[in-house]
Amino acid sequence: MISVKDLCKHYQVHKRPPGLKAAFRSVFHRSFTTVKAVDGITFDIRTGARVGFLGPNGAGKTTTLKVLAGLLHPTSGEVRVDGHVPRKREHAYLKKIMLVTGQKQQLLWDLPPAETFELNRAIYDVPAAEYRETVAELSELLELSDLITKPARQLSLGERMKCELAAALIHRPKVLFMDEPTIGLDVSMQAVIRGFIKRYNELRGATILLTSHYMDDVAALCPRVIVIDKGRLSYDGGLDALVRQVRPEKRVVLHLERPVSQADLAQLGKVVSHDTAEAVLQVAQEVVNATVTRALATLPVQDLTVENAPLEEVMSELFARSRAARESEPEAVPS
């Protein structure tokens, strides 16, 4: 469905130091630097997949999504989505996709969302019966009924995001590019949006490429992740495999009947955290069974779970490794 080969997107950015003198000088002479937002990434995504596109701020995630959505022309490389070249922005292509961004809105600000839905119905040429069915379905799944007749500007962030999603899906896109769809939402609303995205993927077989800084989104939605940093690909594969690769150790979480000493815990593995009621140990994969057996035999354990390292830690570690690997490389090339 999505094929990206050696994609590069470079920007010429005007740079000047602060101050009046520099501002005056820039009237006569401007210096530019080339910023490599995306620097030769390659990946493929099959139809119906849900893929997390991860990286720190400024990694090139949003730029890549914008190239895929046809908003930006790539500097070089080859991009195809369902047989289309996005930069050509053929109407047939635009009818198959949608880019949803958590920070920007496509709802008509002063009008009720129902007006945006109706406008999208007309623009995407959705047959009347299909439109009614889709709106009914989205209204039920997202509990929109009371919201769509209020002006968009009077909705809360969460309510607006639900309406944004509905507006984006009126034409039943086959490919959804989602840029931080849960940003700024409270925990329960994040869960609602996540559940909805998963349901849409299962119901329509849509391909979803999602960026998010909330690892709960990624864990709940994306069996596969692509990680980029400073425009370069640093990982592409299963989420579980990524965790195993970066943090092969397991966490043994002990719920204790009574307090135990740090020294007793240290005999079993590395103590990550410890208080009167709970202790977390980090142990190598191969010794998990032995550690569990010993813990049950020697400590007052009420309950016990074995977990992977938190995804946030895994990602931080991965980004730190990427940074270390490119430490000697220059960030930008003056032109």
């Binding site: 635009l94 009818k95 920007k104 009008l111 040429d125």
Partner: protein
């Protein structure tokens, strides 16, 4: 026969454009009353013509001319350059680009959808204009009235396409608003908005004939005030529509070239 999807979307686009114009009605009315310069010029030129006519313009002719100018300006205005400048700089143009309809068409319908509100002001002015001219002075030639209708459409298209072309310059520079300011200065001088074109010295008038500005305001106003016979009207109309074609091509060329440079920052 089934219409193309873009054409089928027009009524919905028009409806939304009108709803938005109504939603911003206070701002819209303020803007409309800020375009009352022809009424100021009317007062000024009427005072000048109190003692003796200026060219063929006595007080009555100036009243008819500047009321017609006000009506034409209300019905043929376009603000797309400012809108594009904002959307390109802030990246919000991305919203339009994601939709399977040409953004030029979307902007055009959005501008046209505000016309019914403008009629609220333009229609009473038209009644005033008729009262000042007197129905007996109106041309009885249907060809001239058809030419006027075509000139009104041409006037809007020259204004819209030139504004779209200038808006597209925002892809190449940090802001195209200053270019629009220069365009507006030339427009005020050469369009007949402040001074009837025929009062210019011959050399300036000849220059003005070859520039697009007269076809934004002057030509439809002149046709409303019976300034031309059939032959002269059709010749000027041909020039106006040549500008329409040229500006359309220029606007589309700039748009296509500029789009490659769109960075969608913040969008």
């Amino acid at each position: 026969m089934r219409l193309p999807p873009s054409a089928r979307a027009l009524p919905a686009l028009f409806k939304v454009g009108f709803s938005e114009a109504v939603a911003y009605r206070a701002e819209f009315l303020v803007w409309m009353f800020s375009t009352t310069m022809p009424l100021i010029m009317l007062a000024l030129w009427s005072a000048v013509a109190r003692d003796a006519p200026v060219g063929r313009f006595g007080q009555k002719e100036f009243v008819a001319y500047f009321l017609a100018t006000f009506i034409v300006r209300q019905l043929t205005g376009s603000w797309v350059a400012w809108e594009m400048n904002y959307e390109i700089r802030h990246g919000t143009l991305a919203r339009r680009l994601l939709r399977p309809i040409h953004p030029m068409l979307m902007y055009a319908v959005q501008n046209l959808a505000a016309q019914p509100l403008r009629l609220v002001v333009a229609l009473p002015m038209a009644v005033l204009w008729l009262a000042s001219v007197g129905t007996g002075q109106l041309s009885r030639d249907p060809v001239l009235w058809m030419a006027w209708a075509a000139a009104m459409l041409g006037s809007w298209l020259v204004t819209f396409f030139s504004s779209f072309a200038i808006g597209s310059l925002s892809f190449f520079m940090e802001s195209s608003v200053k270019i629009m300011d220069v365009w507006l200065t030339l427009f005020f001088v050469f369009s007949g908005y402040l001074i009837p074109v025929e009062l210019f010295p011959p050399a300036v008038r000849t220059l003005g004939d070859w520039l697009p500005f007269r076809y934004q305001i002057g030509l439809p106003v002149e046709l409303m005030t019976s300034a031309h016979d059939r032959h002269a009207a059709l010749a000027l109309l041909a020039r106006q529509w040549a500008w329409v074609a040229l500006l359309l091509l220029g606007a589309l060329w700039l748009w296509r070239r500029g789009l490659r440079r769109f960075a969608a920052y913040g969008g």
